[in-house]
Symmetry: D2
Subunit: 476 residues, 4 copies
Amino acid sequence: MREFGESCGLIGVTGMPGEAVGLVAEGLHSMQHRGQESAGMLVNTSQGLDLYKKEGLVSEALADLPSWWRKEGIETAIGHTRYGTYGGKGVLNAQPILVDMAGRAVGIAHNGTICNAPAIKAELQREGVIFQSRTDSEMVLHLMARHLASTGYEVERALELSLRKLEGAFCFLLLGPDGMIAVRDPLGFRPLSLGAMPDGGWAVASETISFPACGAEYVREVLPGEMLVLPYGGGEPRSHCFCTEDGSFDQSRPLSQCIFEHVYFARPGSYVFGDSVYEVRLAMGAQLAREAPVDCDMVMPVPDSGTFAALGFSRQLGITFGMGFTRNHYVGRTFIDPASARRAAMVMRKLQPIPEALRDKSVCVVEDSIVRGTTSTARIRALREAGAREVHMRVSCPPHRFGCYFGIDFPERTTLVAYDRTEEEISGILGLDSLAYLSREGMLSCVTAHSPDDYCTACFEGCYPVQPPRPDEIPR
Amino acid sequence: MREFGESCGLIGVTGMPGEAVGLVAEGLHSMQHRGQESAGMLVNTSQGLDLYKKEGLVSEALADLPSWWRKEGIETAIGHTRYGTYGGKGVLNAQPILVDMAGRAVGIAHNGTICNAPAIKAELQREGVIFQSRTDSEMVLHLMARHLASTGYEVERALELSLRKLEGAFCFLLLGPDGMIAVRDPLGFRPLSLGAMPDGGWAVASETISFPACGAEYVREVLPGEMLVLPYGGGEPRSHCFCTEDGSFDQSRPLSQCIFEHVYFARPGSYVFGDSVYEVRLAMGAQLAREAPVDCDMVMPVPDSGTFAALGFSRQLGITFGMGFTRNHYVGRTFIDPASARRAAMVMRKLQPIPEALRDKSVCVVEDSIVRGTTSTARIRALREAGAREVHMRVSCPPHRFGCYFGIDFPERTTLVAYDRTEEEISGILGLDSLAYLSREGMLSCVTAHSPDDYCTACFEGCYPVQPPRPDEIPR
Amino acid sequence: MREFGESCGLIGVTGMPGEAVGLVAEGLHSMQHRGQESAGMLVNTSQGLDLYKKEGLVSEALADLPSWWRKEGIETAIGHTRYGTYGGKGVLNAQPILVDMAGRAVGIAHNGTICNAPAIKAELQREGVIFQSRTDSEMVLHLMARHLASTGYEVERALELSLRKLEGAFCFLLLGPDGMIAVRDPLGFRPLSLGAMPDGGWAVASETISFPACGAEYVREVLPGEMLVLPYGGGEPRSHCFCTEDGSFDQSRPLSQCIFEHVYFARPGSYVFGDSVYEVRLAMGAQLAREAPVDCDMVMPVPDSGTFAALGFSRQLGITFGMGFTRNHYVGRTFIDPASARRAAMVMRKLQPIPEALRDKSVCVVEDSIVRGTTSTARIRALREAGAREVHMRVSCPPHRFGCYFGIDFPERTTLVAYDRTEEEISGILGLDSLAYLSREGMLSCVTAHSPDDYCTACFEGCYPVQPPRPDEIPR
Amino acid sequence: MREFGESCGLIGVTGMPGEAVGLVAEGLHSMQHRGQESAGMLVNTSQGLDLYKKEGLVSEALADLPSWWRKEGIETAIGHTRYGTYGGKGVLNAQPILVDMAGRAVGIAHNGTICNAPAIKAELQREGVIFQSRTDSEMVLHLMARHLASTGYEVERALELSLRKLEGAFCFLLLGPDGMIAVRDPLGFRPLSLGAMPDGGWAVASETISFPACGAEYVREVLPGEMLVLPYGGGEPRSHCFCTEDGSFDQSRPLSQCIFEHVYFARPGSYVFGDSVYEVRLAMGAQLAREAPVDCDMVMPVPDSGTFAALGFSRQLGITFGMGFTRNHYVGRTFIDPASARRAAMVMRKLQPIPEALRDKSVCVVEDSIVRGTTSTARIRALREAGAREVHMRVSCPPHRFGCYFGIDFPERTTLVAYDRTEEEISGILGLDSLAYLSREGMLSCVTAHSPDDYCTACFEGCYPVQPPRPDEIPR
C-alpha cells in the first residue's frame, strides 16, 4: 500500500430527496472492486454535513448508518470506497473527510495520487500545518483553508486556487456550501462521469457501472480540468475549467488517461474515457491474437478479469473458447498452511481446474496482466496437474516493469516478475510452453475515443507524464 | 425449505494424523455451493468423539473450532455443510449429530431425504421415541439404538438393519467404534465418492471437486447400497452391500441417480455418477442446439451456472459465444427497497448487463433451469433495457413441474412457473422472443456412464421411483 | 462443571398476552447470577411451541429473539439461564429443550441434579434410547415419552409417572398441551416460587427477586412434591402432589432444602424456602459474632456476597462496619499475565483495597464461604500490602469439605482448602491472624420458616439425603 | 455531551520495556469509571509513534491492539478513556491524537475543558486552520505547530508557549521527541499524579487507584502549572512551571481544584489533590450528620457511590447502617418499555430494593448528588413500594444549580432539579419525607491538604474561576 495515493471508488448523488443515501450505497456496492478496505458516506442534512465511515466492505461498513439520517429526507450524499490497508488504523485514513473550515463545514473524497504532495505538505508544514492522516484529501482541505480568507471565504474559489497547485492524478467530490462539486485533474488520469437522475437530480461516479445500479443515465465524462458544481436541490450544473484563467477548456493539451483502467481495473459494464471497457477488452484480445497467435486446442481465460480478452482472442483465431477453471464464489481464510500443501490444487481455493476440460489438451490462457507472477505460477502448475499437455499464456497488455504514481497500487518495482527479465525468462519462471504480451501500440490501437497519445502507459515504460515524487519523499 | 430432507455437502477424511481437521474444512469450503446455512465437524479425539457446529458459511462457522483439537493430532474427521434456513433455530437442525448410544458415542451426517421418514418416525414415536430436530440423521440414530441390544451392541450391524428400513435418498457418513463408515442408498440418488489420500489415508465426499482441495485422488464412486468402512488409523477398507443378505451387490436393479446434479447442482470440476459434470453440461448445450436451434447474434450464459451449456450450445451452432452480464462478486444486503426500483437494473446487483454487448443485438440466453421465473423475468427485462433487440432463452433441462422428495429443495409445485403452463405461456410471462427446453431424452443422452434408465427425472415428470410421503405426513 | 446437574435460573410467565416474552427476559436478567453460560426462551405461539437459545449473558443471548414472536401477542413463555461451560458445545447443552413427542410438542427447563440419572439413563439406553445432550431435562423427556402410550397420551400423567422415578434435586418448568407446569422435587432441594401477575396471569421463578422485575407479586413457594398447572390464557391453577397416590401432600416428611442458597447463592432481595435471604444473612453474621467474636478496629465484608453477614457481625459486636475494598464494576480480560504480577494488587482487578481504610488497622473480613482458598489468599495479601496490621477472617458457614450432588457446582473435593485440614491449618495457608467458621447448628438457627432438620448440609458434612451416584457412574 | 471538554481518564507509563502496553491497559481499566465511550493507546515503537483507538470499554476496545506491538518491547505508552458519545462518529473524537508536525510525530491525550477554546479556534481558523474533531487536543496541536518554527522546532518549547494561551481545566499527556510529557493547568482543576515504577520507570495517571493496578507507587501530585518530562528509557524527570518566565512555581496563587472529584467522580481508593477520597467522603457524611441529623431506623446508601458518605453519616449519628438495595452487577438493554412499567421496581434493574430491609422502616438514604432527579424519584418510589414507612434523603454536597465548564458533563442547567427550586420543593418532587444537602462550608471543611479557597465550587454557586465561553460560542 503506497502512502499518498490510492485506487478508490467515488460516487455522489444530488437532487434525490429521501433516496440519495440508498442510491449512493448501491452505487458504491457496484464499485466494490475499486476498494474493499473501508467505505464512507457524507450527507447534507438539515443539521449540516454529517459523516459516517467504517472499515470493511460496503454492505458491512454502511450497515449501521445513523438512524436519524432516515428521517431527514436527505437529497445529497457522496460515498467513497477505499483500497489498501493500514491494519488497525484504517478508519483514520478512510474517506470522506469532513472538517470545520472557518465555521464552514466542508467534506471531500478523493481518488488518485497527487505527485507533488510531498512538496506541498512540506511547505504547509513549514507554515505550521499538522496532518492527522496520510490522505491527499486532508492536504487539499488545508490548501483550501489557506485561500479562504483571501477569497472572501468563497469555498469554490478557494478550491480552484488549491487545485492549481496540484500535479498528478485526482478526482474529487466535495460537499460545499452551495452544492456537490466534482473535479477531475487536467490530464484526466482517472475516470469520472456525469449521470442524470430522474426529476432533475444528478449523479457523478468513477465508473458508469454504478449508474444503472442507482438509476442514473450516463450523460458524459467530467472533463479533464473541469470543476462541475451540481446545486443542492437540483438545477442546472455550473461548469468551468479550473486551470485556465478564463475557465475555458484547452482541447490541445494531450491527456494521460490510465490505460490500465481498460486493461484490468474497471468493470466491463462501464464506460471510461469515452470507450466501453467491454469493447476495448475484446479488441485487445483480438489484437493480441494478431500479434502473437498460438496453435492450441482451447483458449481459456483467467476468470473473470481475463474473460473478455480471451473471447476476443479466441474469436480472432477461430479457436474454441472454453473454461478450464471453475470459480468458487465463496471466500474466506484457509484452514491449512498453504506452504505445506502437497499439490498446487490445494492452494487454488478460488479457481479450481476442471480436469476434463484440460486433460491432454494444449491450452492458451489469456490473462489481463501479470504482477509478481506467484499466483500465475501456481495456476499454471495446477493446470498441468489437472492434465494439460501444453500451457501457453497471452497477456493483454505489455509487461509491467515500472511503478505507478497516479493511483494504482503496484508492489515494489523489483518484485515485479517482468522487472529486468525478458519474455523468455518470464515464461521459464512461470513454467509456460510459450508466453507473449500485447504490444504498447497494439494496446493503444484498441481505444477509439481519444488519440493514443492521450493515455498514460508509464507502468510499462517508465515515462511519467508528471514528475513522480523522489523515493526519499515518499513517507512509509 | 422442506422439513425432512436437504441438499448438503458431506466429506470425511481418515488416516491423516494432524491434518484431518484442516483438510475436511477445505473440502467443505470447496462444496460450499451445496449448503450455506451451517457447517459442522465431528472428530475422533483421544477423549472420544467431539462435535462442533455453527450457523454460517464454512469460513465463519468453523473459525472457532475448539483450540484443544489442535494438540490432538486428529486423524479422522467428518464435515457437513447444510442448505436451508429455519431462522434462529438453525443450529438445532445443523449436522453432524453426536449421541451417546448405550455408552457408545456415535456421530452421523446426512445428505438426502428419506421418503418413509414420516412413517418410521410415527412408529418410533408410538414406542416412545422423542425428536429434538427435524433431521433424518436423528431418526437413523434412533433406529440404530433400537437394534443395538439385539445385535450384541454391534454398531455396524445395527446400522445395517436400520438402513434396510429406509426408502429414499441418503448418503451417510458416520464415525463409529472402529472407523469412518460411508453409506449410499440402493438407488444411488445422491453422489458420494471415494478418494485416496497419500500414505494410506482415505477421503469420502459428495463431490470430487473437494478431492484436489484436500489433496486426495479420485478412486471410485461409493456404490449404491454400499456400506464402506474405513478403519481408523488407515488400512484396507471393508465393503459390502447392506441391502442383500449375503452382502453382494445386485447389478441388475435400475438406479435413480439425480440428473439435476448434472444439470445444475454439482460443480463442473466434479465427477458425479461416473460422468464429468463439465462434459455433461457441454453435451446438454450441444443437444439443446440440435433440438431447438436459434438464429441470433450471440449466445450468452447466465453465469456461472449456465456457462458450460451455453458453450456447448454456441459451439454446436457456430454462433458467437459472449458475456452479456458482468458479475459483481460482492454480495450483501441491498440499501434500497427493490419494490421501489425504477428500473430492472437497480435490482440486478449480482449480474449487471453490459450495454455494449447487447445493444441492438439478438441474443440467446442459455439457462440451466427456471424455477419460479421471477429472477429470469427481471434479467430478461434488464437485457432489453440495456438495448437487446431480441431475447431468446434455451434451458438445458425439461420444464420443472413437480416437487423433489429426494434431496433438492424446490418450492411448492404451484409456484413453479412451468406448473400447468405451456412453453408458449411461459415465454410470454418471462417476456421472451422465444423459449425452448431440452427434452428428457435429449438430456439423458448426455450422460454416458450409466443407462438412461438409471436416472431420476421425477421433478420433470412426477414419476417418483420411491413413493413420496403424503402431503399430510410432511410436518411443516 | 459437573456433567449431570447445574445451578440455574428458571422463570415462566403465563396469562400476559404480548408481554410474556419481555417479562421473562427481565426476570432472567434479575437471576443472571444463577447462570451466565447461556440463556433460552420457549414460547407458546399460534404456530405451536417455539424455542430460541444461545450462549452468553441474557442481554446478549436474547438480543435476537425471532422477530415474528413480536406479532404473536405471546402470553406464555419460560426462560432458563445456565451456569457452567462446555466450551464450544455450550448451546447443545443449553435449555429449554423442545421435542416432538408423538406429535405433541413438549418443552422443558430444569434446575437441579437428579442423583439416579446415571441408573435411569443406563436403563433407558438398554431400551435403545439415545442422548444428544448431558442434561437431565432430556432424560425426563425420554421418561415421559415411555409413559405416553400407556397413559392414553396424557402429557401431565406421563410427567407424573416419570417424576416418581427421579431421586435428587429438581425444579422443572414445562410447556405442555394445556398450560405451563411447575414441578419441585419432594425434598425441596431447590427453591421455586409462585407469583401473581395483574389480570389473572401467573409467574413461577427460582428466586423471588425476579417478581418485582417482571411485575409479579409473591404468592407462595411451590411445595416440595407439587405439580402445579397454570392454564394457558390464565385461570385457576391446578395443584397436587405427584408423589402420593391420592395427590395429597405429606407434611411429615423432612425436607432437604439447600442451606447454601441462603449462605451464598440467592440474592438478598429474594425469599427462598419461606425466609428472607437478607434476614438470614444478617442473622448468620450475628450468630458468627456470638460464636467467634474478634477484637478489631473494623469489620469489613468481601463485597457484595459477604456484605449482609458482615453487617450482622459488626452490629452484634458493636464494632465499626467499613469497606476496605472498592469494587470495579467493569470486568473483562486482563492485559497482563497474572503470574508475573509483582504485587497482589495487580491481580485484584475486581476488588481493589483502599489503603486509607486499612493502614495500621486490625480488620476482620467477613466472607460467605471459602472454596479453594486461592482468591482469599490473594485478597488477604493485598490487604496487608495496603497497610492492614492484622487480618482476621470469619466465615458465615462451616468449612466446605464435601461435594454437592444436588445442583451446586463445587470443584473436586480434594481441591477444597478445608479438605483434610483444621481451621488452624487453613488460617496459616491463607495468611490470617485468626480464622473461624460458623457452626452447623449456629447456621441452621438462623432460618425460621422450617425446622433445622429440613435443610441439606451435605457439603459441610457429607451426609447425603439422597444416595449420590458412584464416581464411576458420573460421565465426564 | 458538551462539545469542547470531557471527563476522561489518562495514564502514561515509561521506562518499562515490554510491559508498558499491558500496564497502561490495566491502568485504564481501573479508571474505566472516568470514561466508557472509547479507549485508545499511543506507543513509542522502533518505527516511531503508533496509535490505536476504538469505541467501547477498555477490555473490548483494546482487545485487538496491533499484534506487532508485542515484538517491539515497547517501554513507553499513554492511554486515554473517554466519556460521552457522538453516536457513530465517536472514534473521530476519540483520543489520543497523533499528528505529523513538520516531520515530527507528536501524540497527545487530554482530560479537561479549555474555556477559551472557542476564541482560540476562531483565531486559528482565521489563519486557515481546519478542524477534524471537536477535541481540545487537536487545538493544542495546532497551537504547537504555529510555534514550532519560531522555537527552532523545539517541541517542548512550542508546547509551553501554547499552554500559556489556554484558560480552563486541562491535564495533558504527550509523547514528544525526548520523552513523555505531563502537564497540569495552573489552577489545578483536574487531578494528575506521579508514580514510581520499579527499576526507574514512571507512571502518570488521573487517579492513583491505577497505580497499584499497574504496579506503581504513589510519589506526588503533578503540580498546578507543571510541565514534567519523563525521558524515554527512564532517568530523572525534568520539571518546571510553564506559566512563569523563570519556570519557578508560584505558591501564592489560589487553586481551583474540582471538589466534585471528591464528592462523586474519583474512586475511594484514590488520592486526589493530596487527600484520600475515602477519608473525605467519610468526613462529608459525618459533617452532613452534624448539619442535618435525622431520626430514623436505618441509614442506607445509594450503592456504590454513596456508600462512604452513608458510613460516615451513620457512624456520626450512631444509627444503624444498612443496605436497602441489592445491586445487579449485570447490565444490558431492557426487554420492556420502561414507560409502560406498572411498578417502579420494573425499571430498577441495577438497584433492586430488599423488602425485608425496608418494611415499616423509616430510612435515610445518603446520596452523593442529585442531578435531574428522575432516577432518585424512581428509587424513592421503589423504596416505598417495598414497604418503607418514611424515606429521608441526605446529600453529601450542596444543590447543583449551575453548569460546569471545567471537565464535568452536567446536563443543561434548566434540567437540574435544583435549578430555581428550594430544598422543600425538591423534596416534594422527589417524594421524600425530608431532604437536606451538605453546606458549601461543611463540604470544604472535609478536605485537609489545601485551603478551602483552593477548590472550585462553581457548579453549586455559579462563581466561575475562569470566564466560561458564552453560550453562543459553544458549538453543538
